[in-house]
Amino acid sequence: MRRPRLQRWLAWGVAWMAGACGSASPPPPQPSPDEVDPQGQAVVFWYQHTRERESALQEMIAQFNRENPHNIQVKGEYAGSYSHIYNKMLVGLQGGSLPQLVVAYQNQAQVYHSADGVVDLLPYMNSPKWGLSPEARADYIESLLEQDRMRGIQMAFPPNRSMEILYYNADWLRELGSDHPPRNWEEFAQFCRRAKAQPFSKAANPQRAVGYLLDMDASRLAAMVFSRGGDFIDPAQSEYNFNTPEVKAALQLLVKLAEEGAVEVLAEPNGDTREFGSGQLLFAIGSSSGLPFMKRAVNSGAKFAWGVAAVPYEGERPVVNVYGASVALCRTTPEQQLATWLFLKWFTEPEQQARWVRASGYFPARRSAAAGLGAYFAENPNFQIAYGLLDYGKTEPTAPGYETVRRLVQNAMVDAMDGAQLDPLLNRLTRSANATLEPE
C-alpha cells in the first residue's frame, strides 16, 4: 500500500510544480495509473505524416484497435504540418478540444506543458501495473528518452529519431585516393580541397565540383561541434557558451575552406541533395530522414556508389547529433490518458518499432527493434551503418527558448562566413542566447 500512495504524492507534486510554473490555478491531482481502468476508451492521435507513412501508421492503428484487450479505439488524424498542429494545439488549449496524443517537438512539448496541456509520462512508465518492465526500460536508448525529459518531467516520448550523418560519394573519393570516408576534420578538409581540383568523372556537369555545401542551420553546426567533443550549453542546461574551442574550430575550418572555394554556402533548398545526386558534391551533412530522397537523387542522377558515415570526429568515438519529433500525452481524463499510454507502449514495442522503421525510414528508440530489421538492413546498408551510430547520440539543448537560439546561431553562422571576427561574434551570440534563458 505504500507504493501507490508514494505515486500519488509524486503525481500531486509534479502537478503542483507544473501549476506553479505559470497557469492561474493548479490542475487537479492525477490519480495513479494503477487505479485507472482504460476499458473502451477512445483516443485521438494528431500527426503530420502523409502518404506511405500515413497509410502504414493507419494500418498499425487498425491492428491495435483489433488486438488490444481493453477495447481501446484509436483514431489517427492528419492535422497538417508541425506549425499547423501547433496552431491547432494553441487554440485547443484555450477551450477547444484536445487530442489524446499529439506529435510535438521538444520546445513545443515544453510550451504545452507550461500550459498544463500535456502530462508527465514518468508515472506511466514507472507504473507497476501498466508501465515498462525493467528489461523494456533498459532497452530504450537512454539519451533519446533524456532528450524529452526536462526538469525531471518526461514531457514527451520518442517513437522514432533521426540523426545528422555524413553522405559521401564513394566512387569520387576513390578517384581522389581514399577508400573510406574521412575519419576526422583534417581528412574532410583535405578531400574537400582535392574534390575542388578534380571533378568527378561521372558528374553531370564536369566543370562543377564542390567539396561541401554549407547549410546555415544550427543542427549542422551542432553536429560539427559535438563531433569535436563540444556542446552549446552546460550539462545542467542552464547556461550557453558559444565561444568554445570546438565552435571556433568548426567555424574557422569552414571559413578557410570557403576562401579556397572547396566549400560553398548552400544557395537553394535541397540544392545539396540535387548536386550530390549529380555527382557534383563530394560530401553532404544532413538528416538521416533524407536517405530515401538522396537515394532517389543518385539513382536518377549520376548513379554512383555512395555511403553514409558518422560526421568526422576528433577523439576516440564519434558523437552524433540525434533529434526528431516526439509524441506528447495530452491532459484529458485519467482513463483516456492511460488508454493513450497503452497505445504508445504498444507502438514502441520492438515488433511495431521494426514495422514503423520499415515504413518511415526513421530510427527506432529501442535496441531490440533491430532484431526485426534484418531484411531492411540488407536492402538499405546505409541505413544500417547510420543505425549503428545511435549509441553515440547526443542531443541539442533542451532549454526552453532554444528555438530562438537556433535562429541566433544561424545568423552568427552567416556573419562568420561573411568574415566577421569570431571572438566578438561568439561572445555576442552567447550573451543573446543566455538572454533567452532569463524568465520573462
Binding site: T50, R51, E77, N87, G290, A297, S300, G301
Partner: protein
C-alpha cells in the same frame, strides 16, 4: 498617309513585342509548373527543360494519393457559398456607404476597413474560440462542417470597399430619374445599379473565389476529418521530410490552379469597351 500608317504599325509591333517579352516573364513560373508536372522526379532534380516522356501518371497518382476528388468537390461548394454570400451582402452594404448619407457613415466605413488591418495569424485564435462556442450552442454543427468554412467569409471589407467606389461613380441623375418613377432604394440597387456594376461584381466574385480556393490554415484548423477538407490540404500531402516530390506537387498544383484559370478567363471577357449610358443626356 503612308507614314501615319507606318508609324502606327511600328507602334503596334512595339506594343505587341513589349507585351510579349514581359509576358514571358509573367508566364514563366506557370509554364515551368506545367512542364514539371509531366516530369519524373529525376528530371525535376536535374533541372531539365523538357520532360523526355510525358508522365501522365503523375496526375493520376496525385489525384488518388491526395483524395483530390473529394477535396475538389469540397473546395467548389465552399467557394460557391463564399462567393454568393460575399457578393450579396457586400453589395448591399456598399450601397448605403456610397449613396445614402446617413449618420455615422464615415465611422462605419473606417470600421469596416479596420477589419482588414490585422494580420490573420493573430485573429485565428479568437475566431476559432468563436466557432467552438457556436458549435456548442447552435442547432447545426459548425466544426467539421460548412458553416465554419463559409460564414466567417461571407462579408469582405475588400468587396465592400471596391463596390462602394463603383457605386459612388454612378451619376446622380439616374437616381433622380428612378425616384421620379417611384422606385425605392431596393429597386434602384438591384434593377439599375447592379447591371452597371457587372465588372466590379465579377472581379470581387473572382478574388473571393481565389481566396477561398487557396486558403489552407483555417480549413486545417476547423476540420479534423477529411470530410470537408478543401483542395489546398491535398497539395500539402506532397511536402514531407523525406524530400518534396516536386513532380507530384506540381501535378497537384496544376489541378488546383486550372479552375481558377478558367474562372478568370470567363470573367475577363466582361471587361469590354466601357458601358453605354444610352438614353441619358450627358
Amino acid at each position: 498617309m503612308a507614314t501615319e500608317r507606318q508609324s502606327s504599325r511600328g507602334k503596334r509591333w512595339l506594343t505587341y513585342g513589349g507585351l510579349g517579352l514581359c509576358g514571358v516573364a509573367a508566364g514563366l513560373p506557370f509554364v515551368w509548373m506545367v512542364l514539371a508536372s509531366f516530369m519524373t522526379e529525376g528530371e525535376t532534380l536535374r533541372r531539365v527543360l523538357l520532360p523526355e516522356q510525358v508522365q501522365w501518371t503523375n496526375y493520376a497518382l496525385a489525384w488518388k494519393e491526395a483524395d483530390f476528388g473529394l477535396y475538389f468537390k469540397n473546395s467548389l461548394i465552399i467557394a460557391v457559398m463564399q462567393v454568393g454570400g460575399t457578393l450579396l451582402f457586400s453589395l448591399m452594404a456598399a450601397y448605403p456607404l456610397a449613396r445614402i448619407p446617413f449618420r455615422g457613415r464615415e465611422v462605419v466605413f473606417v470600421g469596416i476597413l479596420g477589419t482588414m488591418m490585422v494580420p490573420e495569424m493573430v485573429t485565428t485564435v479568437p475566431n476559432f474560440l468563436l466557432i467552438n462556442w457556436l458549435n456548442r450552442y447552435s442547432p447545426i454543427p459548425w466544426l467539421n462542417n460548412w458553416p465554419a468554412l463559409t460564414i466567417p467569409f461571407m462579408a469582405s471589407a475588400f468587396a465592400i470597399f471596391l463596390l462602394r467606389q463603383f457605386l459612388r461613380g454612378i451619376p446622380g441623375e439616374l437616381w433622380e430619374a428612378a425616384r421620379m418613377d417611384g422606385a425605392g432604394h431596393l429597386r434602384f440597387l438591384f434593377q439599375i445599379a447592379l447591371p452597371l456594376c457587372r465588372a466590379p461584381l465579377l472581379t470581387v466574385g473572382m478574388f473571393t473565389f481565389i481566396g477561398s480556393w487557396n486558403s489552407l490554415a483555417w480549413p486545417l484548423l476547423v476540420t479534423n476529418t477529411p470530410e470537408w477538407r478543401p483542395i489546398s490540404v491535398g497539395l500539402q500531402q506532397f511536402v514531407s521530410e523525406a524530400g518534396p516530390e516536386v513532380h507530384l506537387q506540381m501535378a497537384g498544383a496544376v489541378i488546383a490552379t486550372l479552375p481558377v484559370l478558367l474562372v478568370y478567363f470567363l470573367i475577363q471577357k466582361e471587361f469590354t469597351e466601357g458601358i453605354s449610358l444610352s438614353g441619358l443626356k450627358a
